[in-house]
Symmetry: C2
Subunit: 210 residues, 2 copies
Amino acid sequence: MYDFPLFVGIEEADIKKLLSEFNAYNMKYKKDATILSNVSRTSQFYIILSGKANVTRYNFNGTKTIMEKLDKGDIFGSFSGTSDDDLYVIASEDTEIITFEYNKLINRSGRNIEAHNKLIDNVLNKLADKLTSYNERIEILTEKTIRDKLLKYFNYLSKKQITKNIIIPFTLSDLSDYLAVDRSAMMRELKNLNEDSLISSKGRYINIKY
Amino acid sequence: MYDFPLFVGIEEADIKKLLSEFNAYNMKYKKDATILSNVSRTSQFYIILSGKANVTRYNFNGTKTIMEKLDKGDIFGSFSGTSDDDLYVIASEDTEIITFEYNKLINRSGRNIEAHNKLIDNVLNKLADKLTSYNERIEILTEKTIRDKLLKYFNYLSKKQITKNIIIPFTLSDLSDYLAVDRSAMMRELKNLNEDSLISSKGRYINIKY
DNA sequence: AATTAATTGTTGCTTTTGCAACTTTTATCG
DNA sequence: CGATAAAAGTTGCAAAAGCAACAATTAATT
């Protein structure tokens, strides 16, 4: 049930005690339901217990951008967005969350101190991971050409998957969103990379040849 | 001495006690000195007491990119970079830091619990702020045209400076880096925005007219 | 105050990218 | 299983952006 990084190193019994002390409660959402609107102004701390959700921005012109994908064990809260934008957390499949007041997390009472310490450590690590992945995305977005964005992204993937035969973990359509480039232009560049023998790819399966 | 957000809400005496419990020590660096190399692998937690520094990446081709600017009161540590890149923290002027083991921050002993709680709260807020500013940059970088990047950036600035007469807080040259676009192309677009009467600007002084 | 360095501003040309409008292939669902 | 939807793959054309090479200002330094 609670077997994800956020709770690593904490006994299940202690997790339950803590959550109960925090007055935490569970909620279930169907696919496409809105879990949270006005993300930046919540005082709650959220954990995804199962399912998946997207932190989504709706632009004035009706298009939407996925700012972040949330998986089982991921956290979200006021730290998930900028102060002005209309960000929503939307379930991308049936999703269960648990939530409690952020303040409870911070202000330790006397009980369960050790478990509480560990939890905060884990939260810090989660945020640090998030910072790392934002950093990564910024480095990729900072590349000037589509080609360079792709190559940099492939590099990161290759390091993570520890192989030169990488599999893109989402659709190519989503990849073009992630890289913030036009999908067809990205496809064209993918073809060029194949023709220049820098990669050999079919769909989301890519072999890096350099 | 310790009057910055990281220590807000904590008595100076308590700060000193905590830092002493953490076996924290101070270091001074001259302008351009390397404060930390191999950022992602440090187990220390750093706070800038005075001065300024840059988190810098050196690319294979010899160019360097400033990933983040650090000011008085800012923190850095393993959470400041991606896992693979060679990141350095370089003093951009004479700088004093204080540092201690990250573990000491997390594992609370019995004493000074309240101050320690508050400190961790502040660290969480710092990280959250950082996430917010990364989010902001990502949202800007995600815009497709230079024009839209500029407008989005001006919007953020306008909200922060609470005025439509904004002042860009660094050189236009640095702005083009921040937006990851060619400087001359950015200048051209700035001119277009003026001609289209969306802004009226001279150098870094910009009046937003919409 | 004079010189040097840095920043700002400009422009023609070329390359890259986005857009639109398709076809083909692969998934999904009643 | 067949129908419908989603994703992948293509292409011509127009618009945007990068590059390079300057000139003009403004700031910094001795």
